[in-house]
């Protein structure tokens, strides 16, 4: 492992790879900072750009966009009072109060330091935790892989526990869509509706670009006339040593919360941010400051939401469970580059994967400097009219989806997915399950076929395999959890 880490270090510091880390960060922070845009949208739109790159550079670019996107939400949260991402909502509350006191610069700098520390700790957890988990995951065979895929899909259920029925419906229909194209046993072309372009299946990346970019553009158009955001004046980016030393416990606690929540599928940066904010309030010597411009609140929220990034990649890299929409996009990009997440990834693709793991750490360190530059320029960036941004995103999505296979059919797929995505968003259907189901569908079918060939109808024998039984229990729990939670909520309401 030590040798692999050294290999990763030498790769990350190759000029082009390092450049991709920084370019990714600049793009990511921009996507996170612009209200209405998100890290998911950034990763989706830029996947085609990574096609021609070496897998290491491609992964570093996307990792930079992901980390930068999560951090970027801080800037409008503090300067406008609108969180760029839901995970920055507590920051918006505290940041606005501090801005009114003329401490916008101080709050931005504290948030940047918190994000960097959270990101660095989560990178270390990823660097040492993922290979350790991969050793356990080596014992995974096709029955376990099938069960892991079902577990991954049960994330669909958890992702949409406010509206489970719609989440499950979207998940199952997306699984049906994933069966378009040749079947894995006989190569029979299924559901092609007479179109030769569908024999190879629907291009997942085109669907994801459409579903995560076009709906956001159309929603921004709805609010186009209301976007006269007032950007508050930026005060000096200055803090004292005491601001840092008095918050050391807060930094560590929030980072641990973020990493732990990141590992749990479906629990994303927003949950980590609110949870950590509440814990900081409970532990604070001056809880009355919370809501009136608390530095502790900003640090807790921002440290935790960036600590999620590394944590969320641990189940993805070791078990191929993407626990969030950006992680699902990562999975898509990895498959395109011939990197199949799972236990063998750490031995078969050690060079690429350790470059990503070490790169993640470098990205999070660089985030402080990139963040600092953005804080200085924030006032100007936030004034870019949405009309310009919407237009550029449409062109990027169109040309990006064309570049995947250099055919217009993928662009049409992106366009239709975008319209369906908009209808889904407007009618409270979750879109994240689409990404998970489309990516996990083929893996699930392939492994189910193998299980049937190996074990026939005697499926009870599978329960003699400990890992299969554990994953089975996890799956049952994750399907049952939202039902139990809903029932509990109803009981509380009835009382």
């Amino acid at each position: 492992m030590f040798e692999s880490i050294l290999l990763g270090i030498s790769n990350v510091f190759e000029p082009f790879n390092l450049l991709m880390c920084i370019v990714g960060l600049f793009i990511g922070v921009l996507f996170g900072a612009l209200p209405g845009f998100s890290a998911t949208m950034g990763v989706a739109v830029f996947i085609p750009f990574s096609y021609v790159m070496e897998p290491e550079a491609a992964m570093l670019l996307l990792a930079g966009i992901y980390c930068g996107g999560v951090y970027g939400g801080t800037i409008p949260a503090i300067l406008i009072g609108i969180p760029g991402t839901p995970a920055s909502a507590p920051t918006a509350l505290e940041g606005q109060a501090m801005t009114k006191k003329g401490e916008s610069g101080k709050s931005l700098l504290l948030a940047t330091i918190g994000s960097t520390i959270g990101g660095v700790i989560s990178s270390l957890a990823l660097l040492f935790g993922a290979p350790a988990l991969a050793i356990i995951a080596m014992k995974v065979g096709s029955p376990e892989q099938a069960m892991v895929a079902i577990f991954g899909l049960s994330v669909v259920c958890m992702l949409s526990y406010d509206n489970m029925l719609k989440g499950l419906l979207v998940g199952f229909i997306s699984l049906v869509v994933a069966t378009i194209g040749q079947d894995p046993v006989m190569g029979y072309p299924r559901f092609t509706f007479g179109m030769y372009q569908l024999i190879g299946g629907i291009d997942v990346v085109s669907v994801l670009i459409g579903i995560f970019s076009i709906p956001q553009v159309l929603i921004m158009l709805e609010n186009l006339n209301k976007d006269d955001n007032k950007v508050n004046k930026l005060s000096k980016l200055k803090i004292t040593a005491k601001d840092i030393t008095s918050n050391i416990v807060n930094f560590i606690r929030s980072s641990i919360i973020g990493v732990a929540i990141g590992i749990i599928p479906a629990a994303g940066p927003d949950i980590a941010s609110f949870f950590s904010y509440n814990e900081a309030k409970k532990a604070s010597k001056s809880p009355e400051k919370f809501g009136n411009g608390s530095e502790e609140g900003i640090i807790a929220s921002e440290t935790a939401n960036n600590a999620v990034t590394g944590g969320s990649l641990i189940p993805l890299l070791t078990l191929a469970i993407p626990g969030s929409a950006p992680a699902a996009l990562f999975l898509g990009a990895m498959i395109i580059h011939g990197l199949r997440p799972g236990p063998l990834l750490f031995t078969q693709n050690a060079k690429e994967i350790y470059t990503l793991l070490v790169g993640f750490l470098v990205i999070n360190i660089c985030m402080f400097f990139v963040g600092y530059i953005y804080c200085k320029m924030a006032g100007k960036i936030l004034l870019i009219p949405n009309a310009i941004l919407c237009t550029i995103i449409v062109v990027l999505a169109t040309v990006g989806s064309f570049s995947i296979n250099q055919n217009i059919f993928d662009v049409i797929v992106m366009y239709i997915s975008g319209i369906i995505g908009y209808i889904m968003v407007k009618n409270d259907f979750p879109t994240s399950p689409v990404a998970l189901a489309l990516l996990l569908g083929p893996i699930l079918e392939e492994n189910l076929v193998q299980v049937k060939t190996l074990f026939g109808d005697n499926l009870l024998i599978l329960f003699t395999r400990p890992l299969f039984t554990i994953f089975f229990c996890f799956t049952i729990f994750s399907y049952a959890f939202p039902f139990i939670k809903n029932m509990k909520r109803k009981k509380i309401v009835e009382r």
């Binding site: 719609k166 229909i173 006989m186 299924r190 009309a387 449409v394 062109v395 662009v411 009618n427």
Partner: protein
């Protein structure tokens, strides 16, 4: 002002899902048993879930039948609808008249439609964006962008 019964949208979506599932199910004829087992299971599950969704939508609709939501949404959806059509036309013409002309035209029309009146932006943004992306995709990503089958 439009009288809009929002809950009926759920019913329309549910019926559309049924139609899509039927379209998929019609493909099973002639498909080998090995290839259709897994999709049959998925389509059955989807149909059952959709049945629940339809039942819930009808129940909600009946409960709220008399409550109509009055919103001036006609103008609002018209704008979105026109923009969707604009993107559709852009995609349709991109391989007909080529990337450069179609993208420049789309950006100008989109900016005008979205009420950007700054002449500098209207002139410079289409040229710079189109050129920058052309350079990025053709030189850096080695993608051959459409040159236009109607032109060449």
């Amino acid at each position: 002002m439009v009288n809009f019964k929002k809950l009926s949208v759920d019913i329309i979506i549910s019926i559309s899902i049924f139609l899509i599932l039927i379209a998929f199910a019609l493909n099973f004829g002639g498909m080998p048993a090995e290839a259709k087992g897994y999709p049959i299971f998925l389509i059955t599950c989807s149909a059952i879930l959709n049945l629940f969704y339809l039942y819930r939508s009808i129940k909600n609709y009946k409960k709220n039948e008399n409550k109509t939501i009055k919103k001036d949404i006609s103008k609002f959806y018209k704008k979105i609808f026109i923009y969707i059509i604009m993107i559709g036309i852009y995609i349709f013409v991109i391989d007909k008249i080529g990337y450069i002309i179609s993208t420049i035209l789309f950006i100008i029309i989109s900016l005008l439609f979205l009420k950007v009146r700054n002449k500098v932006v209207l002139i410079l943004l289409p040229i710079i964006t189109t050129a920058l992306m052309y350079f990025l995709f053709t030189k850096f990503l080695m993608v051959i962008l459409p040159s236009g089958i109607w032109l060449f």
